[in-house]
């Protein structure tokens, strides 16, 4: 009985010792420093990204003010330019759906397309709508602005008519105003959360469970690449998931000459993040790439990070070969869209299967098999 007690005492001690895992200094000299990777992500990529997005949306806000004050051709052109610039910047941060961004459904609020124009028109006329409702995701964000700035009429004069001589002009102006204010609120909310504490929460959550930062952001990243980029920007409009092509599902449908550029920026941003490249300059820091390289020194497997980077390049070439207007591309030669989809797809396999396996990232928290 005594020995029995000693053993159970030892068992209890080990359990306590093992669950007490705070304040242990990281002494991994030769092993990969995940905290440094999280710092690189937060300080050099994510927060600077939201900085720039915030500024771009401020510019968008100012341009909107001017347009509302005087809805003329010059102000419309300026507003469109500001819309394009902030839409571009959004593509660079959309993959970071973590923390506040996750809580407010950042991507869904900013970029659900295609816009439901009938519901949007009804909301404009009614003036009574709640943008926070999940059912109203497709009447707001950049795609709704696309419709308001580019899709209201055949030409600029038609469009401007809606904001000037149209009996509902003030309603259109106030809806436009409302959408931009909402984007500004959301963008500031997420940015402020990162700069007021979440950054430290994010970096210090450096464990290896499914809820730890590395695992979570990795899952978000792969999800973004697979669903928002590969499927959303190319696959769905090309008709890969439906019986026929859906050109109306192209991002920036009312200004389709902009659609390929958005997809290319998104692709470049995912590759930059993979390589740990700082936002806005060419410095690189700890990243998926260096993590995979480190793991490979243990495993002696194939050079996975090189394979993934090569595949990014191939996919980029395929996207660049497309018409600047993906709508036109689909209507003229949809096989090229399929080709681009296939090359994007190859990296889904390399990242979702090979990379997640190498990093041993958990998909979800459930018991797995045990001995």
């Amino acid at each position: 009985m005594q020995r029995f007690l000693i053993l159970f005492g030892a068992l209890a001690f080990m359990l306590v010792a093992c669950s007490d895992d705070d304040n242990t200094p990281q002494e991994d000299i030769d092993s990969f420093n995940r905290t440094a990777m999280l710092e690189n992500w937060a300080d050099n990529i994510i927060i600077p990204g939201y900085d720039v997005l915030n500024n771009a949306i401020n510019d968008l806000n100012n341009a909107t003010d001017q347009f509302v004050a005087m809805p003329d051709a010059t102000n419309l052109a300026n507003l469109r330019a500001a819309w394009r610039e902030s839409y571009r910047t959004f593509q660079k941060v959309s993959m970071f759906e973590i923390g506040k961004a996750e809580a407010v459904f950042f991507r869904a609020r900013f970029n659900t397309y295609p816009t439901d124009t009938a519901t949007l028109e009804a909301a404009v006329l009614d003036g009574n709508y709640n943008l926070e409702l999940p059912s109203n995701r497709d009447i707001q964000g950049f795609p709704a602005l696309d419709y308001l700035l580019n899709g209201l009429g055949e030409n600029d004069a038609d469009i401007l008519e809606h904001y000037t001589f149209n009996p509902n002009a003030t309603k259109y102006l106030s809806y436009l105003r409302e959408l931009v204010v909402e984007l500004q609120t959301l963008s500031e909310e997420v940015h402020n959360d990162w700069t007021n504490g979440y950054r430290d929460t994010f970096v210090s959550n450096d464990g290896s469970s499914a809820s730890a930062s590395v695992d979570k952001l990795t899952n978000d990243y792969v999800f973004y690449y697979e669903k928002a980029l590969r499927a959303g920007k190319i696959g769905i409009p090309a008709g890969v998931f439906s019986n026929q092509p859906l050109p109306q599902n192209v991002e920036s449908y009312y200004n389709p000459e902009f659609s390929r550029e958005l997809a290319l920026i998104a692709l470049q941003s995912t590759q930059d993040f993979f390589n740990g490249k700082s936002f806005g300059n060419n410095q690189t820091g700890p990243s998926f790439k260096s993590y995979l390289n480190y793991l490979n020194t243990i495993k002696n497997g194939e050079d996975l990070s090189q394979l993934i980077n090569d595949q990014f390049d191939v996919a980029q070439n395929k996207l660049e070969a497309l018409n600047a207007s993906l709508v036109q591309q689909i209507q003229q030669d949809n096989t090229k869209m399929y080709e681009a989809f296939d090359e994007l797809q190859r990296n889904v396999i390399l990242m979702k299967v090979d990379m997640l396996q190498a990093m041993d990232v958990n998909v979800d928290y459930v018991d797995t098999d045990g001995d």
Binding site: L7, L11, A17, L350
Partner: protein
Amino acid sequence: MKTAFSNYLKKPTEAAPLAVFRIFFGLMMFGSILRFWANGWIEKLYLEPKFHFSFYGFEWVQPLGVATYGIFAVCAISAMLVAVGYKYRWAISVFFLSFTYIELMDKTTYLNHYYFISCLSFLMIFLPAHRYFSLDAWQSGKASKIVPAWTIDSIKLLLGIVYFYAGLAKLNSDWLFRAMPLKIWLPSKYDLPLLGSLLQEEWVHYVFSWSGMLYDVSIPFLLLYRKTRWFAFGMVVIFHVLTRVLFPIGMFPFIMIVSTLVFFDANLHHKILNGISRILNIDKKRWDLQLPNAMQPAVRKFQLLIVGFFLAVQLLFPWRYLLYPGELFWTEEGYRFSWRVMLMEKAGYAQFKIRNGETDTSFYIDNSDFLTPFQEKQMSFQPDFILEYAHKLADHFRKQGHENIEVYVESYVALNGRRSQPFIDPSINLLEQQESFQHKTWILPFNDTISEL
């Protein structure tokens, strides 16, 4: 020989180890069910998914909506009744049935240790675990300090099979000579105090692989032999605590640690029962003073036959993989129900295509429209899941009015750190294939060799 065997069957032994086993088993099962419930897994695993993956032949076992909670409640209550030994035969039978029903509802959640619980509870139906230190024995006065030795030995044999076969399964080139999959799993536990940086070292992965294998094949014998028993139990504790720290495997390590107590002499079990008596203020003498009464021979024969048959199946069933061609880890034909635990890190990606055979138009499936992330993960690298899913997709689209449906899949699987490679023949219309125990010819060959027993 024959007399030696029939003498063995008559050999009596103390009932205390069986009683302790029953009590701990019941309590831990009760705790496991509560934990499962409290974690919200009933909702998440059995109510949220749109459909469930069934074991071949058990398609009729499905979650019952909200009533699924009732099954878990029945299971928990019967576990508690087993622990206290009230209407034991009924309680353990109901526990076996409800627990097994739960496990059969969706094979996505298949775990060897759940299968182990089903096996163990089935065996216990035929063991007189309620003769001592139980409410049954308290009320009816049918207490017995003595039970046939084979009844306790059958539990030892089942435990021995689990360990030994798990050890044999580790005799493969990936485990021993590539230290896979531990080489993937251990470095990711960098955040463990003390161990974290050690787990980055390659030699540590080999030490873990080899010692794990040696542990599994030798532990049943070390537990059987009196002189090494305490040492072996120490190993059991260290081994299972370590696996608990390293891997998300729930209650299983504790179940195994407590189960191995059955190998010890009755002395220890009497001390444990004395302890329980003191805490609960029960008079243990009430059972001790009773005279042992013999079991009915007819019942014994019937029980023996079932237990003997069951154990023979347990010994043979894991070898069925030898009947299938191809690499076991790749095809997983004969992989389950064989104590192959933690042998593989496998991940896959499966892109399904629905084709109209007449118009030659097709579209891809977004798996998240139909499956939970956990189901999608399990489906993507197991051929029987892929086949069942293909048929369910066809059912779905048929209902939507689609015609001439054909289902194809383009899939890639990575096994134990190898680069992903094509898994299922993409030119095969999966609807023309039916589930069976036959070899699945549409699994593409594995481009590497793993030597195994």
